[in-house]
Symmetry: D2
Subunit: 346 residues, 4 copies
């Protein structure tokens, strides 16, 4: 069978580079073309010497990527994907957007949090939100997929079953999240300068991180009611991983076994979701370099609080891994193709 030709626009950013890495091991797809505004004409392996002699593809233009590919992954700053999406749409290519341009159904919310508008509303209506565990059937065969953000994957996976079953309140939810540094991208900043980040730990964008409306959109849709969350992200001095510690008020009378049952019922059949045995806590270390999401559940009876802790690799299930999963669904491949990886133990 001929392999699917997969191109990456913005291939030299972290998300783009990780898509290239996962495609290298994909049995039914192959990297067809890459582009980069900053590194046009340079090989991927000149930007990332880890790829030397293994993946030396040279960065071309965005148009070349569209031309040479069956599917285009776009890892662009928000606001730049809409035009490319239209171009791919016209050319009959599948478009998977790593950015936020197609994630919010509500244009007003996009305007409020991102400051842009939807230039082609018809196109936005075609877009599907690529969180396969919740919207699998919608994604299958679709040609325009908005790949969720990292926090916006970790938090809904932690909370959805409890909300779907009405076991927790839709108000008073606290999402205390911690992310590895790769989430902030490849561009050096003072805050991510090694001597300053090393041995540090802090929160950032304490009120007003742009993932807030996206988290609430997913949870509200699943809960079929208006869910609100307080979301505070923190920056970990590690490379990869998001730990989402989510707190919610239990509805009166809800028991521990109801909670566990809801999660087992919903997640046991999900290949990439690993519901941990009682007492074990999700750890970002255990999902690194893969598409798994580990979930651990706790109840604080003293305060009637439900605590769900999920862990993903922000570059895996939180970005590139999920994008491959969406590609697989779009093309009718095995959903796990190219993602059957054993996370390294150390």
């Amino acid at each position: 069978m001929k392999k699917i030709k997969a191109g990456v626009v913005g291939a030299t950013g972290y998300a783009g580079a990780e898509i290239c890495r996962l495609l290298f091991g994909h049995p039914q797809a192959e990297l067809s073309a890459v582009s980069s505004v900053s590194f046009e004409g340079m090989a991927l392996s000149q930007v990332y010497p880890a790829y030397y002699q293994v993946q030396d593809m040279v960065c071309g233009t965005q148009d070349e990527v569209v031309e040479k590919s069956d599917v285009v992954f776009a890892a662009l700053p928000h606001g730049l994907s809409q035009e490319l999406a239209a171009q791919c749409h016209q050319a009959g290519k599948v478009f998977i957007d790593m950015g936020a341009d197609f994630r919010l159904a509500d244009e007003a919310a996009y305007q409020e949090w991102y400051g842009g508008t939807y230039t082609d509303k018809a196109l936005h209506e075609e877009a599907v939100y690529g969180l396969p565990e919740f919207f699998r059937e919608e994604i299958k065969g679709k040609r325009l997929i908005a790949n969720p953000g990292c926090y916006t994957t970790a938090v809904p996976l932690a909370l959805a079953p409890a909300l779907e079953k009405g076991l927790i309140e839709d108000r008073g939810i606290v999402c205390d999240c911690k992310s590895g540094v790769t989430g902030a991208g490849r561009k050096p900043t003072q805050g991510n300068h090694y001597p300053e980040l090393n041995e540090s730990f802090t929160a950032y964008k304490v009120v007003g991180h742009r993932h807030t409306p996206e988290i609430e959109q997913t949870l509200s849709r699943l809960a079929k009611e208006d869910v609100r969350v307080t979301f505070v992200p923190h920056l970990l001095p590690i490379n990869r991983g998001i730990l989402a510690t989510c707190y919610a008020r239990l509805k009166p009378g809800v028991t521990q076994s109801q909670i566990w049952e809801a999660y087992h019922e919903r997640y046991d059949r999900e290949f990439f979701l690993r519901l941990l045995p009682q007492g074990q806590v999700a750890n970002v270390k255990n999902v690194r370099y893969t598409n798994y999401c580990d979930i651990s559940l706790f109840m604080d009876a003293r305060t009637s609080t439900f605590i769900s802790i999920s862990a993903i690799d922000n570059m895996g299930k939180g970005a590139a891994g999920q994008a491959i999963q969406n590609m697989n669904l779009s093309f009718g491949l095995e959903e796990t193709a190219g993602l059957l990886l054993l996370p390294p133990a150390f």
Copy 2:
């Protein structure tokens, strides 16, 4: 003036070693004797080569420490301090306990969370809880001081003014805390083995960490009502520091300026508490090796949630620094003596 003679029982543990380090720079106190069960007969600098030729004092017995000291700092596993406290009391020595044996006023709570009893109730009644910013007047001149734990310092400092002024609810408080590894002590474990902790992040003792009743005791006493918290500690792959991200429900109508006013009124005169300018976030990095506590305040109007984030060095304000501060209060010294340090920028 003759220097105060300060002895450390359990000097080779991390808290003990840090007390020795701070005493080295104290203008009115000096290390008089150290003991260690595991390293008796060895110099501190054989256990910590960083101290070589600078602090080479040899570990003797507990009795020698008591004999040679005006004040005894005890860094012992819980349960072992009560007898030593009695011995110091009889010998007329000031006793500062780094452990939990004298922290809880309620013996039933101690039994429930630590599994021991109070062998000498009269002695426990003499004990004062050594959180100077709240209980300064009680500590002055006292001879038996229970030095608070690390989380139990960071959380109350983050929340007290809002509770004291009745600006937040006493229910629904979430304390999502993250600690550096030194908090787990010097003894190697699988979880703290470098290859396993490095690039990892997880929560631990998700429900049921022993600092819970101590946090609630302090907050309830200050709020003059029964305060309950959900407390989840996490382990950071860094050496020093605690970041406490605390969430509380604002009482109806409470404004941002009321919150700020309450904190300024309460903390502006506190030397070691640094209320950060609006928008800045506390970072564990900025208080390392010192006794400072940085506090940053936020309001999530969308969800009526108050967020207070505090940062301390778990070995500084969370242990050894606060112990020195308590010694200073006990002996009538300047409260800042030996603690006038500029945190390293990197």
Copy 3:
């Protein structure tokens, strides 16, 4: 085609666990059985939660591994492999030893550096030294392979072509090596306790590391003269990787182009050896989780010194990766089978 059945004795140590991980992705071999003295009866994923639901094989006995496998990888403390090797030999199984028992041709050297004897000399004569880039033809089809150590892979790969061609002196070689922590194994020690190793860097076993005679054996064999090295290992506060910075005296008149020519001639056809472009320096980061060895060459004309810097993953080319490579050679598979991996960029 039926997959090769591969068993791992000592599977819960780091080298063993990494062999299991690589086998998970091997197209022509599969994990058949694992054993562990410390964790018998427990699943691999109970020891390494990263493997949960992906590789949950339960640890059995050594005998079970031998019985169920075509090839047995032994990751045992030195001295324990000889008996197992004999058992495998009799049972007609291929035996790949991760330890030192079969590495030294000279029993006297083994006695001097390891303190043991060779219990079955005939068996030792059958053993081949598994450094494929130098001894490929000998390894093919062999049933008893001594997998080299980590330093003993990195140093010969850095120096061999220059020695083989007689371009550098066989005396005065300095091998300043730096290793990640996983090289010291899974057992927690004071030195590898996170707070003590973090932000530290030092040398260890400055004179007398056991890899010295093994390095000299390989280099002498390749140079066809008696080569001596000064070898000093250091411990890096990172998980994976060895950087070997090797210094040698250039023979009079040797030019830079002679050096480069020798390396290109020798290594250009080697899949796992990546000779870096002039000016680039090998970095342990670029080979992590894979079997590659990066090599970079420099000449200090001022001092007539040749400097070769190689980088491997101590758990990859320095242990498990090379073991898989040897298995492939022994069974007549593609040498790269299961090792066609793109190193992660971050």
Copy 4:
């Protein structure tokens, strides 16, 4: 007694900020003024929030620093110190240069390695090289001091006694050095971006680092013969510290006791040099935040190689600490004033 007024030009760089930190604890000197081209008008604590409310001095101009200070520390890019030195000289201020402009006695060497010229030769003749352990008497009372670089402190301290006594050859010396990241400065770069440096290790400027002629100048002067070194620096993923592993050929017949005697004789009276007991190895961790240099000695009898390993804090003895030591010597203070610190154990 009136305190010495100490000003820092370039105070917001790492070396400048560390001088400010050490001055904070100095009993006889105080920070009088700071300047910064990039942050003029901002407080030090806006650049380094660790200093908030403790050291909030505002950055002014270079001229203000000169005017308000008895001693001016200049932490400037090379080439910019000469004019400022002249200005200070004329104004009768002591000038301590953290850069390279006055370090090399030989202008031709400066031209070759730095590409500049000496604009005022008379001024250069007044400059003294500020390595107190070797040139103490020259430094006392001097008004123009070239503070050595970090590598150029660590290597000579490791090798000098053996060279002074003629115990090692002046050819064939290898200096394999490893530095923490702060040595590369505060400006973010791709190489020091957290995700790229974390879990990495490599060498840089393998042949041709500018500290080479400075190291050779010091060693040649002490050995009274022309000493050549091969110097290769590496970058450690830690914040502070340099470990210099130095290899030299022993002269025929030299014994281990001769070596030890030479070092004891030379260093036992040096407060900041800690010659470690036999068998112990210097570790960067043990000197962090202080002015100490740890030295450990080894002999490889098999190869007649002497190995000396020294450890300093690149920002302490390698920069700011040594600058304070030089100030003390210049002003006739106790050499240890402000530097009597116990290195933290963790």
